[in-house]
Symmetry: C2
Subunit: 238 residues, 2 copies
Amino acid sequence: MGTIENLALAGTGAVTEKRIERRPLHEEVIDQLRDRIVLGELAPGARLNERVLCEQLGISRTPLREAIKMLATEGLVELLPNRGAIVTPLKAARIADTLAVMGALESLAGELACANASESDLAEIRALHFEMLAHHARRELAAYFRYNQFIHMKIIEAAGNPVLTNTYRQLNANVRRARYMANLSQKRWDAAVGEHEEILAALVSRDAPRLKRLLAEHLAHKVVSVMAALASNDVAAA
Amino acid sequence: MGTIENLALAGTGAVTEKRIERRPLHEEVIDQLRDRIVLGELAPGARLNERVLCEQLGISRTPLREAIKMLATEGLVELLPNRGAIVTPLKAARIADTLAVMGALESLAGELACANASESDLAEIRALHFEMLAHHARRELAAYFRYNQFIHMKIIEAAGNPVLTNTYRQLNANVRRARYMANLSQKRWDAAVGEHEEILAALVSRDAPRLKRLLAEHLAHKVVSVMAALASNDVAAA
DNA sequence: ATTTTGTATTATGAATTCAAAATGAGCGCT
DNA sequence: AGCGCTCATTTTGAATTCATAATACAAAAT
């Protein structure tokens, strides 16, 4: 089937950069599983039954197991020797630890972003910010969260340090799971939006010290709300 | 055989908590490979031939491939679709990025360690420090490096944040490879030891701001020496 | 009734097999 | 001689098979 597409493209002469790309199965699988874990579809503590997952994904155990091993080093699943794997339980202490590390990284990112962000980076962040405002105005929590994430990731990326981006992304996956449980109050939601306004302003004016402080405060609030959400339905112990 | 031991123990009544523990093969393999990569035995850019490694390690391809996938998410190897894996090339830019992130983490660690380190943590760090001094006195570079690493890791651990420890450890593995090429000068070596004295003093007196500053300076020097070492024999491009 | 022990079942761990892609050598061609 | 092309070989990707450990269950004994 890919062949036909290629012939068609060859005929046009317009080489769209759409490479054929057959992604390795383990990549496909890891993305699927990661999504399902982050969205809570695979709940914390849930067992990963290889046979079941194989049938659901329509693959054999080999690439599945490779994906599970990779998710384990990402920290999203835990390997229990001879007893398979479970989705890493959401422990309050661990989430708190993760957020602390993310705070340190955001601080670095703020500093670097003020120095290195391109004008187009800023434009994009501003655009995402307005999209987020739109969803806030419409009280669309899920969409708001998504753009909120986009903005934070984009700020990190604007720092221009791929290692930083990667590290942050991995840690983030682990707390995003908790985030989906956090049904933040209207007041807190409004406040968070306000904080984002300030963060954007600090970044645009490339005021690193102020940006760092704002990011730190923003994170501190996030810690409170996430921990509160966890406390309410924290049961998943090891 | 385990049975006999157990019977013998049962007779004594002294139940030593020595569990049998058979580690999964992929763990054994990942440790072996990680060591060989960090020590440079598997050089940056080197291809990982599955058949060859299987024979050397005396295992089948399945656990080997699992280990390789895990090393890939750790960043020590790169996966080239359909063409296997190579040891991640040491690029100066990437190392610099990694060190920047580690700096942010050390800063956090310093703060937390001043607040959370137990007295036994401090005692252990002091002990390691003296071991390091001994190797410095004898001009045993490799042993010095090892204890240097121990000390830094122990400070991180003393912060009492397992996520921080893990994250730092992974990043560290990536730069340690470069470190082995750094044949630092006598003068720099002596200076580094002096810095460690100060770091220890700041930690013992739990002077967080001072410790953070000292760690930052120490890292800055490390950046210089590592980058210099890389520049001299930087060839391994992707 | 409860606990323990033996057995059957199931799930995971690892090796092997099969398939597909990439590499490399030889060959004909211009 | 240089170049591209085909085909054999090698190597990786994925599925399957085999082995072993964990679990569930039933029966027997206390």
